[in-house]
Amino acid sequence: MLKCRAAWRRLAPLARASSTLCRQNAKRAVLRNERRPDLNCSQMSTAPSGGGRENTLYVVLVGAACLGGGVYAYRTVLGDKQRYQERISEIASRTRRVEPEQQKVQTQTEPAAATEATKEAISDPPLRIDTPNQPVAPTEEIEPLSNTPEASEPSPAPVLESEVAPVAVDESISEVSVQLQDVPVVESEHSAAVVQETAVEPTPVVPVLPEHAPYLLIGGGTASFAAARSIRARDPRARVLIITDEQDLPYMRPPLSKELWFSDDPAVTETLRFKQWNGKERSIYFQPPSFYVDPVELTKVENGGVAVMTGKKVVHMDVRGNKVRLCDGSEITYDKCLIATGGIPRNMQVIERAGEEVTKRTTLFRKIDDFKSLEKISRTVKSITIIGGGFLGSELACALGRKSADVGLEVMQMFPEKGNMGKVLPEYLSNWTTEKVRREGVQVLTEALVKNVNFKEGKVEIKLKDGRVVKTDHIVAAVGLEPNVDLATSGGLEVDSDFGGYRVNAELQARSNIWVAGDAACFYDIKLGRRRVEHHDHAVVSGRLAGENMTGASKPYWHQSMFWSDLGPDVGYEAIGIVDSSLPTVGVFAKATAKDTPKAATEQSGTGIRSESETEAVAGKMSPTLSTPIPPVAKDDYGKGVIFYLRDNVVVGIILWNVFNRMPIARKIIKDGEQHADLNEVAKLFNIHED
């Protein structure tokens, strides 16, 4: 059939050509014949002699054309057939060549002779069996696989057994290669004395990292740790593997911009310990190293545990195969996977374009290393400028401002908004806060848009759009976080275009067996709609929830997370829900007394644990440098109160301003989602005049 078609295709143009040729010839002949009678009517019908000569020529021509065409067609078809045969045989030989190579690479043992039972070219590597009395001779079948004891690798074992009688040759090849991959891992873990084939150099027992993790957590931050803890609590003997590209074990971030700066200990950059609200010291690491299991031991340890692989980045995710690939090429399969990759601090284009002299004097603050380097810099330079007026920028500004008096450091903060936390607090409160930050020793430049940055005469020069020029030694850029969605393409995961981050449902699930938590998760909040939250408590709450859902619960995001910030000893607040300054707000403030400050709150109430009942205790209060009590001011003093953020007359966010230990009430109000006629009545629930 094909041959006919192929042949016809070759012949067609030729046939067409020859037929047109024929037709043309015929036409010409006819025309000539016709014309001749016209021109020379005296001649009778066909001039036999002339016509005969022409006829023969015509016949010869056509005959030759047909013959030529036929010969050409025959040769082409024959050639095609030959080429086709060659192709098929080449492909066949290629598959045969690839299989043995694959096996060689994966198992790294000498390929033994292949067999008739399987394909002729398959090599069947002898397996290193740990019990010394097991024969290690290369065998024909895949029998050795079924002999290997599989104490700690239960999942490959059943598959291996079933492979003893391979039916489909191709399938068995691929499965064998996979299993053989696992088995050497097991062997080398187990046996000290490994029986080797002669051709392979005897390898010492090298601890091999796990190839399979029932629970795989990508990212080693707060959300990941919270999930690990949740999984371990719910699934007894769970084996959890955390992979992080940082060198540090999981740690909490808030103290890096708050408590650690207030510590008296000169060695704080080494110990990374801080004082909590209750005076007790603790490390920023969630748990000391002894809490974790060595990754190499993870599959063996009796009661399971949490293992952390540091310094490894996951670069590729294969969702269908339930596996990930690391930067070093190794692959790890999983049953359930959590992506908690957090994000990377954003940089400003003007800084990136400004050249190396500027970029090496710029800090993007997020990790422990950034804290260490900034702390060192703050002791050596004369001037630091913080670009950004949000949480991180303002906290760092206050922390550095505190130090400024001691070390003679000039601290400046600049941002495009009208006041600190301009995107969070209503304008009047933002202005008030800015004044407080100025009192901490910070020079605040509001409505400052950076036009360009240069390095001139040993100083970093920042030119603003309105003409102001700032000369400084070092820049800290706190202009937002870019969620890390590197695995979206390879994993086929959806990325949200509005908020960034991986798009997940209300149960934090992206796809089957894949959950996302923390800064990188754009999730659906049943009460407040789709959002992405970059706060510590949210990482804890979402991590815990993801861990619960990975172990079989199907709970949506329900427990509303909160956040808090302290800006010096006078200003501290806790907040919950959607706190966006573009929403209409209603603020209910008490006429303040000197007793109402975070400092006073913690000193007074031994029981009232600020942010302890809400989230983990992080807030550490030190004795303030200001010893004078706050004098009553003539203008409005927003000492303490409650601010409600409304959307369609429903309270979607609440800030507790210098009012502590009331978060459960705030949480309840948001959960209810009711339209309240008089928010003053709702404010009464908070008892703001009490401590």
Partner: protein
């Protein structure tokens, strides 16, 4: 005397103590105790122990988590007159395990102080304190 001010879309109310003396007439929706979505305290509505309760800190998830769970479960379901009197073996096993990790379970603390108040604590996400601190639910 309280007064009110409007700044654009933001409303500001200053109130004195007297203004807030009268009890609030704001209505709150009654909580459903059987709500499956809610976080529960230490004890779940069906009587089981909530191992994921933040109040337990890292006790149930650490290296000695299994022993802790066994000991505490035994204590919880114990019907002896002196509650937990039949669980000495479990507690001993837990202590032995904890002694292997002095960094995680400092020995000067009571190694196995299970929370005595079993009423559901308010849902809290207090996370990750060093284990000895945690059992004392706030």
């Amino acid at each position: 005397m309280s007064y009110c001010r409007q700044e654009g879309k933001d409303r500001i109310i200053f109130v004195t103590k007297e203004d807030h003396e009268a009890p609030s007439n704001a209505e709150l929706v009654a909580d459903d105790p059987d709500d499956p979505y809610e976080d529960h305290g230490l004890i779940l509505p069906n009587g089981d122990i909530n191992w994921n309760c933040p109040c337990l800190g890292g006790m149930a998830s650490g290296p000695c988590g299994q022993q802790f769970k066994e000991a505490f479960s035994c204590f919880h379901y114990s019907k002896e007159e002196v509650k937990g009197a039949d669980c000495v073996e479990n507690f001993r096993g837990m202590q032995e395990c904890m002694q292997k990790y002095p960094e995680l379970y400092p020995q000067e603390e009571e190694a196995e102080s299970p929370p005595t108040d079993s009423d559901p604590a308010p849902p809290s996400t207090s996370e990750d304190q060093l284990p000895p601190d945690s059992p004392s639910a706030s």
